[in-house]
Each structure stands twice: as structure tokens, then as C-alpha cells.
Subunit: 147 residues, 2 copies
Amino acid sequence: MPKLAAPTPAQIKKAKAILACAPPPQTEDIDPRLEPLVNDLIGRVADKWTVIVMEVLTENGEMRFTRLAEKVTGISQKMLTKTVRVMERDGLLVRTVHPVVPPHVDYKLTPLGLSLSAAFCGVWIWAAENIEQVEKSRRVFDKNAAK
Amino acid sequence: MPKLAAPTPAQIKKAKAILACAPPPQTEDIDPRLEPLVNDLIGRVADKWTVIVMEVLTENGEMRFTRLAEKVTGISQKMLTKTVRVMERDGLLVRTVHPVVPPHVDYKLTPLGLSLSAAFCGVWIWAAENIEQVEKSRRVFDKNAAK
DNA sequence: CGGGATCCCACTGGATACTG
DNA sequence: CAGTATCCAGTGGGATCCCG
């Protein structure tokens, strides 16, 4: 870990789309009226806990609430509940309640969620590759600020 | 817009790295001790305003504070100040202060910031492509919740 | 017993006014 | 113009309670 998302066909397709976006010297615009909506969606999805929950679910497949809470280090159970609710609403995961005693709820990414997870693949790579450089920047910045 | 990041050499390199991550049937692990650190970095960088500021700066190059504030729709000046400070600390952008009488401060992504912006390229594509499906999911969810 | 709803509190983010 | 300072509403965390 971060184990990169298990490469499903959907991920491969996505990755190719990602590659396709870079080489051309120019990119095509999107309907301008869509812009604020896309911005909002990015804002929604570029959320710390959402990204980490996605990563954990991509790696482990279907998981129960408590397992999820163990893996998503540092999250409170309240935030986890809220995060998975919103993700469910957005169609990123499905929540399956088994009416047994003790309760048993499974969380699993949908194809849409998997595709978003794949889209984040590049960000995981970036983080793994550049963590040292970021920490170095921080040390320099803090040293200058201290004086 | 979202105009995809202007494709710099760094972005092309990144995009290829992204593509490289998907096709292999298995992915290599990273030093496990690094995992929480990478998680933290993702959490830091997967921030609504950070992502949008990066996008705007990628699209427009060097920008002044007020111009930035105009383009980053919905942000408060306080959050913008804080966001660019943290981004500067992390080495994602440089802040150039010109000591003139109306103050003049320019913000510009560093190569590190540009590489992160490129890494987010896939997420922008995903958002543009799937916005309809997300909104549909929300309508269905809200309808079911209402009953 | 696990999932999650509630209460309380600290902190964050937004709006506004003010300064170098 | 580019912040900083102030005030206030809303959000997130911790602990607790509850229901199946």
C-alpha cells in the first residue's frame, strides 16, 4: 500500500483516457454551462475521507463497517458513517444491510466508484513518488518562517 | 473548462506513469512504513480548494491574488489565503511579492504542482464524463429517502 | 454485539471591516 | 491590492446511548 488499484478493465480504459488527455497540444473545451457543475463535483469528490475510503474498498473489496473503520486510519465513526452515506447517494458504493443479529452491513464500490478510484490512480502514484520532496519543502518553509 | 491541464512534458511523463499502473495484472507494494505518510499526503492534497486552485493556475499560468479569487468560484478570501499558504509550504506553488505601492503578488505552480495537476487529470475527466450519472444517483437516492 | 444516532465541545470556514 | 482581524454559524471529533 498504497497498493495501486487492482487493474480492472474499467481502470485500464480510464488510464488510457488519462493518457489520451496529455499528449495532444490542445484540449477540447466542454460546454461552459457545465463548468460550475463539474467544479462542484470535483469539490465533492476531492474529499480526504472519500478518497481514502475508496482506496481501502478498492484494495479489499466488500467490507463491513468496523473493518472499514480499522483501515481508514484516523477517521471517527461519525465521519465514516457520513462519508459512506454521501458516497452511497452519489452512486459510488452500495450498502447492503443483512438483517441478522448482530447487525451486518457490507460496503462495496459500484462500477462508478471503481472508475473514480481508477481515476485517482495517478494521484496515488504522485503521492508515493513525491512525498520526500513535499516534506523537504515543508522543512525549508518552516525554517524560513521561524526566523 | 474544465480545460484539461495544458500538456507539459511533465504531464505527459505523469500520464504515462498513470497508464503504466493499470495494465499489469499485479502492482508492486511500497514500503509499508510509508503507507500512513502517503495516506496523509493524499488527505492533504485531496482538498476541494487545493484541487480547484491547481486547476485554475494550470489553465492560466501566473496569476495575482484577486484574479485567482475571481476564478476560484465560491471561495472566501480567507480560505484562498490559507489554501495558497499551505500549497506554498508543500512546494506546490511559488508566491512572488513585488514591493510596489499597490501590492502585487503573483502565484504560480512549481514543477511539483504541475505534476500533481497532471496527476489529477484523470479525475477531471471522470467528473466531466460521469456528472450525469452522479446526479441521477442522487435523485434516486433522495426519492427513496423521501418515502 | 455491531451500526449508527445524539449530545457536547473545539475548531474551521464564511462575511465583513480594517490596514500597510 | 493583498492580506489580517474579528465575529459568528456550521462542521467534525469523542463519548455515550440505543436498537436490532
